[in-house]
């Protein structure tokens, strides 16, 4: 049983999403193991955010299936969602609450029992470096701290899958480094999906990289594999997403 859980935390097959006549996501397959950090790349409008919203149950897919730790997200949304932590592009923060109040709310909504509440809260704050700001209003925090609160909210219930949509946007270089370290730490024991536009970030943090373009998955390889073949991620990205025609060649090379 335990073996089975470790094998795949997220498995999505044939995921499609249409908005009217426009197909935003077409036939995406995604598989993620425990202890793996997946870099999710693609130009703006490629369908990354749509895919992530589907994986977190914010949007129903037009076709396809999603399983979180073997639990079908569409059939048993509550059980599946309890295992996901999600930080959307804009951190979903209540500016009128203090950091502590907000994180407590997040923990309660994710069914953390009252007994564990204190320890879970302290651990999340510790990890995200929020110990000093627990009593401050979220609205009064700087952008970097708000982003950290967003991450703390996503990891507070100890989820198996963490999905982060551009977590380092708008941060200064030091904060970026801190957050990358945090993501690597988290990735050691859970699965992380990280969407970003910063290619060096992917190379330094992720184990595997997938590139989306016009709603399709056009590239899927491990970072180690890329290094072995001495392929530059930036070149791959440019070739795949600028010129659609040559995509087939690169994938095979």
């Amino acid at each position: 049983m335990n073996e089975q859980i470790t094998s795949a935390t997220i498995s999505a097959r044939g995921l499609c999403r249409n908005f009217g006549n426009h197909a935003a996501v077409r036939e995406i397959n995604l598989e993620l193991k425990r202890g793996e950090v997946l870099g999710f790349l693609g130009p703006n409008g490629a369908g990354k955010t749509t895919t992530m919203r589907m994986l977190t149950g914010n949007l129903a897919p037009s076709a396809g299936s999603i399983e979180i730790c073997g639990i079908d997200l569409l059939d048993r949304p509550r059980d599946a969602k309890a295992r996901i932590g999600y930080l959307p592009e804009t951190p979903p923060l209540y500016r009128d609450l203090t950091v502590d109040e907000y994180l407590q709310l997040a923990a309660r909504l994710h069914r953390v029992g009252n007994v564990n509440l204190r320890s879970v809260l302290n651990e999340a704050k510790q990890r995200c470096g929020l110990n000093d700001v627990g009593r401050q209003l979220i609205g009064s925090l700087s952008k970097g701290y708000q982003q950290r609160v967003g991450i703390a909210q996503a990891i507070i219930h100890n989820p198996d899958v963490i999905i982060l949509d551009e977590p380092t946007v708008g941060l200064d270089p030091n904060q970026m480094r801190e957050i990358r370290t945090l993501i690597r730490e988290l990735g050691a024991e859970r699965s992380v999906i990280l969407s970003t536009h910063i290619l060096p970030e992917v190379e330094s943090v992720c184990d595997r990289v997938q590139i989306m373009h016009q709603g399709r998955m056009v590239f899927n390889d491990s970072i180690a594999g890329l290094k072995q073949k001495q392929i530059n991620l930036e070149e791959v990205f440019a070739q795949l997403t600028l010129d659609n025609g040559s995509s087939g060649d690169i994938q095979s090379s």
Binding site: N58, L59, R78, K81, L93, Y94, D96
Partner: protein, 247 residues
Amino acid sequence: MIFTIACKELKTLFASPLAWTLLALMQLVLAWIFLWRLDAFLEIQSQLLQIANPPGVTEIIVAPLFAMAAVVLLMATPLLTMRLIAEERRNHTMTFLISAPISMTDIVLGKFIGLIIFFCSVIVLAAVLSLSLLAGGTLDVGLLLSNAAGLLLICACFTSLGLYISCLTAQPAIAAAGTLGALLGLWVVDIAADDADSIMRNFSLLKHYENFNRGMIDTFDLAYFALFILTFLVLAIRRLDGERLRG
């Protein structure tokens, strides 16, 4: 889960000055009406003594107070319901709730109950105002309770309608305007339904409230309120669920 969301609603509500301002203003208006009715009562008190079966202090002071409270709440509700969903959408916090392992029903009911608890405090304040009359006489407690129950039910109706309209938009101001319009519409229906056996009469919220105001609790009124609340709550849940499907 429903209770967690209700608590969160109350916390954010009381964190903003809006709730306190509204509570203070409503109390001011109610106190004003209360004093005005009290004055009127003292003036006619001597004449009342000459009537065989005179109306009591509850009928002369408390009932008009609660009738007016319904109107005040009709004006105040849109300001409170507009934030419920529309503001969550505008602040991108709706994702936070939807990503959590709770259903849309939990979200809608939690928000509904949170606001009802707030309105309970308004009603309690109005009731305490009335109870101060005990200092100088006796009250018809049954009539007072019937009034309070009626006010609670009509508040619940206002809230469920406002909650549904808040689901339709991402702009709190539009939600407020829409709710106020709809509620005033139900008010006008009441005026238009003045000729006794018009069918429109049955649709008017305040007509049903009037019975409670007179101390008459009718199952027809109860059923009407229950249906009204249920309808708009179900519509709100369906609307939010549909959004997840349609995007």
